[in-house]
């Protein structure tokens, strides 16, 4: 053993300290909080009451289902667009595909708040102008009702995430040996056959990674939601993260909000374990 015990501790203790202080301890306190009626100042233990009330709270249930619906739609769209982008930019390796890569990825550099403002301008001002110029009612009044608000967040999120997911698909597409594809071409395989019988099976692990990355990030979405619709109109586009934030820091029902936070944690954990099980199964 080259590293002695006290040296080993010196290497790892700072990390242990940060993880315990910032994540583990707050998490444990949080579990306790979720069984109290804390308002930030006083708190007393009330058992499972928060959870019982939560499951009858129509605002919570609505935001929860909205989050599920949002995650479902955006996961499909992001992966579809990301995969198509990856296929486009891996066709050749020239200046055009390189600049396409850059352009597709660029939205991912911008933070959620700024993205929300950019799209708020597009959905309100630019869409209004399109509606007026071409007499298209479709472009009228975006973000002013719950359904255009919902699709607005979806569009924003697809714009932000597709380039990111594209990179994952690219790295798996590039790992496919060139001569496999060349052999298929020599055998007379069509482009569609190459896609479905060679590329698609090789992409299976990329699908698992991308699906769960997008799922986790859409479940936790907050800033885009805040800057684009701020949950409006009438809390109809408020997703679960924003629900937790507003309940805790606007209404000061911290124990109650923490119970919702625990439910969010359980959802993310269940999803992650399903992913782990799936990828183990394939490898095993």
């Amino acid at each position: 053993m080259l590293i002695k015990k006290h040296q080993y501790l010196a290497f790892i203790l700072p990390a242990v300290f940060f993880i315990l202080l910032i994540i583990v301890i707050p998490f444990l306190i949080g579990i306790y909080y979720s069984f109290t009626d804390s308002n930030g100042l006083r708190s007393s233990f009330i058992g499972w009451k928060n959870f019982e009330v939560l499951f009858q709270d129509s605002t919570f249930l609505q935001s929860f289902w909205l989050t599920v619906k949002f995650s479902f739609v955006s996961v499909i769209l992001i992966n579809l667009v990301g995969l198509v982008f990856a296929l486009i930019v891996t066709r050749h390796n020239n200046r055009l595909t390189k600049s396409l890569r850059t352009i597709f990825f660029m939205p991912n550099l911008i933070g959620g708040i700024l993205l929300g403002f950019i799209w708020q301008f597009i959905f309100t001002s630019a869409f209004q102008a399109i509606a007026a110029a071409f007499h298209l009612d479709f472009f009228k009044g975006w973000l002013s009702n719950s359904s255009t608000g919902f699709w607005g967040i979806v569009i924003l999120f697809v714009w932000q995430m597709s380039g990111y997911i594209m990179l994952i698909y690219i790295s798996f597409l590039n790992a496919i040996p060139k001569n496999t594809i060349q052999a298929a071409v020599l055998d007379g395989a069509k482009a569609t056959q190459i896609f479905f019988f060679i590329k698609l099976p090789q992409l299976a692990p990329a699908f698992t990674i991308s699906l769960f990355l997008t799922l986790a990030s859409s479940f936790k979405l907050y800033e885009q939601n805040l800057a684009l619709t701020n949950g409006g109109p009438y809390r109809s586009t408020e997703m679960i993260s924003m629900y937790i934030y507003n309940t805790a820091f606007v209404n000061f029902q911290q124990g109650y909000a923490q119970a919702a936070g625990i439910i969010l944690f359980l959802c993310v954990t269940i999803v992650s374990f399903i992913q782990l099980a799936l990828s183990r199964k394939r490898e095993g």
Partner: protein, 271 residues
Amino acid sequence: MKKSTKILLGFLFGIIALFWFYPFIIVIINALKGKRGIFQNPLWFTRDFTFSNFKTAYQALDFTSSFFNSLAITVASVIVITLVSAAAAYALSRVKGPFSSILYYLCAGTMLIPFQSIMIPLLSLFGKVNFLNRTSLVIMNTGLSVSLSIILFYGAFQGVSKTLDEAAALDGAYPFKTFVYIIFPAVSPMTGTVVILNAMKIWNDYLLPSLVVNKDGMYTIPLKMYSFFGETNSQWQLALAGLVLSVVPIIILFLLLQKQVMTSVTEGAIK
């Protein structure tokens, strides 16, 4: 493939790319207009052309101060994260034992916890001892980022042969010296990845800073943009000029480090 299909496909891809890029263009175009020009036609340039929005927005955003706040918080956090997680990952990769596996699983486990599930107790913990400022923000950023960074570094250190450690030890170097001068420099591509991933995340973060440093003199760019946006209600030309100012530094940095950024992002996702 026929030449005509090829041209058609190229044309199609061009249209898609243009469409994807258009939101950036629209922001820049309208940042260069007065209120009237935006009202007339937000889709393209109008006669109404001015640079003055940038000056107004720069002052209203207190841009120098918010920029340096963002920069200081990001740089400090990234340095602490990199050092703390590289050191821990090195020890994990060299010493096998129950303690190492516990820490490894602790990292993997804490990565599952969404920030929203711990933010309330975290805030009340730091609020109780009245420790909500830029320093505590750096500490929180570190705690929230070390898990993933340790796992990334761990993979890289495993790829560095232990004979290097042994050779250094024979030459009389202490583990600390071996780490700093030999092993850590050997994983510099991974260091780049860890730095870029964390820098992007922390620079753009809004939720945590809004809870910790939401006060005068401590505003970061996203925080200031949010409050500025509320104040400039319906003055899009100023809001958009502010957006351009906030986004330009990131885009320039990205264009300079493009390849490295894309590799880092991919690695961070796949590992």
